[in-house]
């Protein structure tokens, strides 16, 4: 699937004329155009987000993204809470992959407070992040297949995701919001026999991924609906802030794990997965292969990690913890791209400002509004899924 030219390049020159102010000249009363709302419970999104489409026949001429259905004001809430009180809040910013919030927040606080997390806790943090990545991809694969009518894939991936949630439960005590990576280290080590049960889960997952490959990626309907659709021009990557698998499917090896190594990634052997066609099919395939890389990384971590040593650094009394004035930005590579926390401390016991940089923020707003033009209504859902958007991280 790598030797074809993109079948489709968005071009709005054939579509409605522009007014003097640059907006499209769309006269709904003419009967030629129709407004169509999709959402906020949208088949293309894990969460609530809507797109306001203007269609001409079954072709989209303009799309506007509307968010705000999940706004909970986390960034504001954190300004009124002590550093440790923010810790149970941050994971709720992204439901399907909460651990990156915990890691980025903990690492930012540690950096400003001058704390170094113990080596063993760094290995466990990396393990958790890779487990979370696999789970997030499982949700994605189910959604991507489901958006094109392959409902059975979602059942398979949900099953193996559930097995991984079992591993999360025995490691952290929780299935979705783990609250395990806290400033200073992690809460606990691996339980007895964890490696063996994890290996069984990984084998089950590999077997399912083979099935997914045969049923989804070799499926003629899936190929026909996704090859050449939703093309992202590699020239747009930087100007539209595209990161993660969306960028790697366009042939650019953007991966924070390699570009800005953190935790124990320098000690692990892996290469970022790259695609070339930058369409929906390639993005799905990059993520499928990324699952296999993550499975390998989990095995490497379990084989190499130290089995003894401290799990928590010495931290001050968290009830009276004041952090010196300063600002920092900490990033990690989540399943959707660059996830980051910009933290500003003012010397008090409360953060002055916490800003969460979720990859969906750029992918689902300006980028989607550009890509959605000239595609068919029936492709909107699969295009949206292919950008792998989680709305909670847009509106925090």
């Amino acid at each position: 699937m790598t030797d074809h030219a993109p079948l489709f390049t968005p071009d709005r020159s054939q579509y409605p004329a522009h007014k003097a102010d640059g907006t499209l000249d769309i006269d709904l009363a003419s009967g030629k155009y129709l407004k169509l709302w999709q959402g906020p419970n949208h088949p293309g999104i894990t969460g609530n987000m809507s797109v306001e489409l203007t269609v001409c026949g079954d072709e989209v001429v303009e799309g506007k993204v509307h968010v705000g259905y999940l706004h909970r004001g986390f960034e504001k809430l954190m300004e009124r809470r002590t550093y440790i009180q923010c810790f149970p809040i941050v994971c709720r910013i992204c439901v399907p992959e909460p651990d990156f919030n915990e890691y980025c927040y903990a690492a930012a606080v540690e950096e400003l407070a001058g704390i170094k997390s113990p080596e063993r806790s760094d290995w466990i943090r990396t393990l958790i992040l890779e487990m979370g990545r696999i789970n997030s991809y499982m949700m994605y694969l189910g959604g991507q297949a489901g958006s094109l009518g392959l409902g059975v894939i979602a059942q398979w991936t949900t099953y193996v995701r559930d097995l991984m949630l079992d591993r999360f439960e025995e490691l952290t005590g929780a299935r979705i919001y783990h609250m395990f990576i806290l400033p200073g280290g992690v809460r606990d080590g691996l339980p007895e026999g964890f490696e063996k049960r994890m290996e069984e889960t990984l084998r089950e997952m590999e077997s399912t991924m083979q099935d997914v490959y045969e049923v989804m990626f070799c499926n003629a309907v899936f190929k026909k609906r996704t090859v050449g659709v939703g093309y992202i021009d590699p020239a747009l990557l930087d100007s539209y802030g595209v990161t993660g698998p969306n960028a790697r499917a366009a042939g650019v090896a953007k991966d924070v794990r390699k570009d800005h190594p953190y935790l124990v990634y320098p000690e692990l052997d892996f290469e970022p997965v790259i695609g070339h066609d930058s369409d929906i099919y390639t993005r799905a395939d990059v993520r499928r292969r990324d699952v296999l890389v993550s499975i390998d990384l989990v095995r490497q971590i379990l084989a190499k990690m130290p089995r003894s040593g401290p799990l928590m650094a010495s931290v001050p009394n968290v009830l009276h913890w004041k952090i010196p004035r300063g600002e920092t930005y900490v990033r990690g590579e989540c399943s959707r791209g660059e996830y980051g926390y910009y933290l500003v401390a003012d010397g008090s016991g409360y953060p002055r400002r916490v800003n969460v940089r979720g990859p969906s923020y750029t992918h689902a707003m300006t980028l989607l509004e550009r890509l959605i033009v000239n595609i068919s209504i029936s492709d909107v859902a699969s295009l949206m899924v292919s950008l792998h958007t989680y709305p909670p991280e847009i509106e925090r």
Binding site: G73, R80, G241, T243, Y342, V344, N355, M365
Partner: protein, 176 residues
């Protein structure tokens, strides 16, 4: 990063450099020089990725700090540009023509902090909030607790206990 800073200092009137990490530094830039510095960094220095654009409210100093975070992937370094704006005349030039994705950030800052970005696309359209008529909610002088108490009511029948008293009553009902 020091080397880059000294080169830039010859071209632009920059503030002191704060080196947070080997790969991360922050510097303050006068408002009127920001656009030319951004273009210079993007086109000449390889800082092609706009990581984020956000604001910090320094209420006690009566200023907003805008932070533009840029990354050079090849050289693995990130530079944060700080622009200080007066809170009572918070207007900033738009950079959506340099990075189209900045339009979304500017829309959010307009809504949440009340910072104006004239000419930014759809900047005055509602982004996250709907029908908001109070002061922009991410400003420090917006009191979330007061707002909640004025606009929402407690569910009937809800009782709040003092934890110490409650446990004492539960453990020692007779008061002994």
């Amino acid at each position: 990063m020091r080397e880059l800073y000294s080169q830039l200092k010859q071209l632009f009137p920059l503030g002191e450099l704060t080196e947070q990490r080997q790969d991360l530094a922050f510097v303050t830039v006068p408002q009127e020089h920001l656009r030319s510095l951004l273009l210079h960094l993007r086109d000449r220095e390889g800082f092609t990725h706009l990581v984020l654009l956000t604001a910090v409210d320094w209420l006690e100093d009566n200023i907003f700090q805008l932070t533009y975070l840029l990354t050079n992937r090849e050289q693995q370094r990130t530079l944060g540009l700080r622009v200080m704006l007066p809170r009572d005349a918070a207007t900033m030039q738009s950079i959506h023509d340099i990075w189209p994705t900045a339009a979304t950030y500017q829309r959010e800052l307009r809504e949440m902090f009340g910072i104006a970005f004239p000419d930014s696309p759809r900047v005055d359209e509602e982004f996250i909030l709907e029908g908001w008529i109070d002061i922009p909610p991410y400003r420090r002088d917006f009191d979330t607790l007061k707002y909640a108490e004025e606009n929402y009511s407690q569910r009937p029948g809800r009782v709040t206990h003092d934890p110490a008293e409650h446990m004492k009553q539960k453990l020692y009902p007779g008061g002994t």
